[in-house]
């Protein structure tokens, strides 16, 4: 007997008796339940404009574009968010970075996010290699016309300025100051991206940029 067939539990369709066939007891029972709710009514509704919702920390609201420590846009215009986006709401135009940004090849000349098309799935945040795009807790998004909700680069940076000090919206940067693409040197040790043999000497040394193996315990992080 295979493992899966062991897990199969056979249930019989319950036999219908006389009372079931007449529907009457079931209907009365149902009415009893609903009536009970009417009589001992206790609403669980949150009355929104007066009572603000208590959102979970992973709530996905309006996007923001983070700034790096020099107040430049962190985005490197790799367009991975636009690629990952299932709603195709992100349009990026890239350009060579200004000459006085020596650490960068590429930056977003324009970055437009259609908040109306967006489905707030957070895939852009997942895809971003430099932690530039993040979803905030802002949910009450309104505009007077469609163009108001086409968020461009400056508007998205504005959302960052607005939310960065909010304890609910910490900059969730996991990597270095600029992220992997721009700042390879400062990478902390990460988990393995591929399977690593347990006896591989190199996999056991935890150094910057090295992906520590799962087969053997990583040595202490360099710090």
């Amino acid at each position: 007997m295979s493992e899966s067939s062991k897990q199969v539990k056979w249930v019989e369709e319950p036999e219908l008796g006389f009372w079931e066939a007449t529907f009457v007891p079931a209907i009365i029972q149902g009415l009893k339940t609903t009536l009970n709710h009417v009589i001992s009514h206790k609403a669980v509704t949150e009355e929104y404009p007066e009572v603000k919702p208590d959102l979970p920390l992973h709530y996905r609201g309006v996007h923001r574009l983070n700034r790096d420590e020099k107040d430049r846009v962190k985005c490197v215009a790799c367009m991975l968010c636009a690629t990952a986006c299932p709603a195709r709401c992100i349009t990026i135009e890239a350009a060579p970075a200004p000459k006085d940004w020596p650490d960068r090849d590429k930056f977003p000349k324009s970055f437009v996010l259609d908040e109306l098309r967006c489905i707030y799935c957070g895939m852009c945040e997942e895809a971003c290699p430099v932690d530039a795009i993040e979803l905030t807790h802002i949910y009450d998004l309104t505009g007077e016309n469609r163009d108001d909700l086409m968020y461009d680069r400056e508007k998205l940076l504005g959302v960052y300025d607005e939310t960065k000090d909010n304890p609910r919206d910490p900059v969730r940067t996991k990597r270095g100051k600029l992220g992997a693409a721009a700042d390879f040197q400062g990478l902390p040790t990460l988990g393995p991206a591929t399977d690593v043999a347990g006896n591989d000497r190199s996999a056991r040394t935890g150094t910057s940029g090295v992906i520590a193996g799962s087969g053997a315990p990583a040595k202490e992080n360099r710090s």
Partner: protein, 396 residues
């Protein structure tokens, strides 16, 4: 002259009151739904949301009226009108108060002394399905068409038990005139209410009228899961509102009919009897009738939020395999009782016996059906190993 004025006034009262009443019934229904589901319900417009119907009405009036390009315009516009018109027309012969005790300026029935009252009602209310069919067909959309098809099949099926169940009442009373049916009950007192004499007919009547009115659990025609909005998918704004006005008017009609046919209309022992002659007796009687109607409406609403929607084959099974035979036997029973002039007790016991017999019969029917449908089912349950290996062997 007075006659005409009184008629006009009555018509005005009815036609004026119905939309307002419907609006507030919708509010009530929404509130009821909210209470049952531990919510608050409409509470933004006015105190306790009491102005919500007004806001809704204004919204529906002012809303952009979308007529899709692919519809048959004439029929598309006509359909909601038919829907409202027919249901309102049916109310013409329904006595909505004590007709005999009416004050001189109001009559409580638009068209008094119609001897074919019941036939008229059924003739007109079954026309209401034309609104749905035409609306669905003229929308030129598959969802609408499917909804309309379902609605027509359903109405055609439930028309039969509906008529049959009332036939028993007509046989007993010897009249089709609603006022007379009511006054006969009033004269016979509490135990003379038809519910005691023909409970089965009452059950069939009430169930089939829910189906006639496309109310839950029989609103297959606007089944959202499969059909978006059903026959009114392509409708918006006022035309959409008219459909709903029609539906609610239908609910009101049903409630009136149920109260009058089976629950003695304005009669209530001790307060409002045929002998009550005190001042404003008509008002008390009116209130009694209205209370009964209101209770009936409340029951319909409770049922809506309690019972899940039927599957279409179950719906048809209920009509053709259960309600039609039962209502036929019920008519036969009434005829026998009338012919041999048996007492009403026999009718009551006959009704209950039939109900029980049918329950037992259908229980056994279902059991054998189940066995016929899946002969391997029980075997599989008995020997799961063999069944899985056979299944995996057949898999390629």
């Amino acid at each position: 002259m007075t006659e005409i004025l009184v008629t006009l006034l009555t018509v005005l009262v009815v036609v004026g009151a119905i939309p307002g009443v419907c609006n507030y019934l919708i509010l009530l229904e929404r509130k009821m739904a909210a209470w049952m589901q531990d919510r608050v319900g409409p509470n933004r417009v006015g105190p306790w949301g009491l102005l919500q119907p007004l806001a809704d009405g204004i919204k529906l009036l002012l809303k952009e009226e979308v007529i899709p390009g692919h519809v048959d315009r004439a029929l598309y516009i006509m359909a909601p009108m038919i829907s409202v018109f027919t249901t309102m027309l049916a109310l013409a012969v329904v006595p909505f108060g004590p007709v005999e005790d009416a004050p001189w300026w109001l009559r409580f029935i638009i068209a008094p002394n119609i001897d074919i009252g019941l036939v008229f009602i059924f003739a007109i209310t079954s026309l209401a399905v034309y609104g749905i069919i035409l609306g669905g067909w003229a929308s030129n959309s598959k969802y609408s068409a499917l909804g309309a098809l379902r609605a027509s099949a359903q109405v055609v099926s439930y028309e039969i038990p509906l008529g049959m169940s009332v036939l028993g009442i007509a046989l007993m009373s010897g009249t089709l005139n609603l006022e007379q049916i009511q006054s006969q009950q009033a004269a016979a007192g509490l135990l003379g209410w038809n519910i005691w004499i023909q409970p089965l007919a009452c059950l069939i009547f009430f169930t089939s009228s829910l189906a006639e009115a496309n109310r839950l659990p029989f609103d297959l025609a606007e089944c959202e899961q499969e059909l978006v909005g059903g026959w009114h998918t392509e409708y918006s704004a006022l035309k959409w509102a008219l459909f709903f006005l029609g539906e609610y008017t239908h609910v009101i009609t049903i409630s009136f009919l149920t109260s009058i046919l089976f629950f003695g209309g304005w009669h209530f022992p001790g307060i409002a009897t045929a002998e009550s002659t005190y001042m404003f007796a008509w008002l008390v009687k009116l209130m009694v009738l209205m209370t009964k109607v209101f209770m009936c409406i409340i029951l319909i609403m409770l049922l809506r939020w309690t019972i899940p929607r039927f599957r279409f084959d179950q719906l048809m099974e209920l009509a053709w395999k259960i309600m039609i035979p039962l209502s036929l036997f019920n008519v036969v029973l009434v005829m026998i009782c009338r012919h041999f002039e048996l007492s009403n007790v026999w009718l009551l016991t006959g009704s209950v016996t039939m109900f029980c017999v049918w329950g037992i019969v259908s229980t056994n029917m279902r059991r054998s059906e189940l066995q016929a449908k899946s002969p391997g089912y029980r075997m599989a349950a008995a020997a799961p190993v063999a069944a899985t290996s056979a299944a995996s062997g057949g898999h390629h």
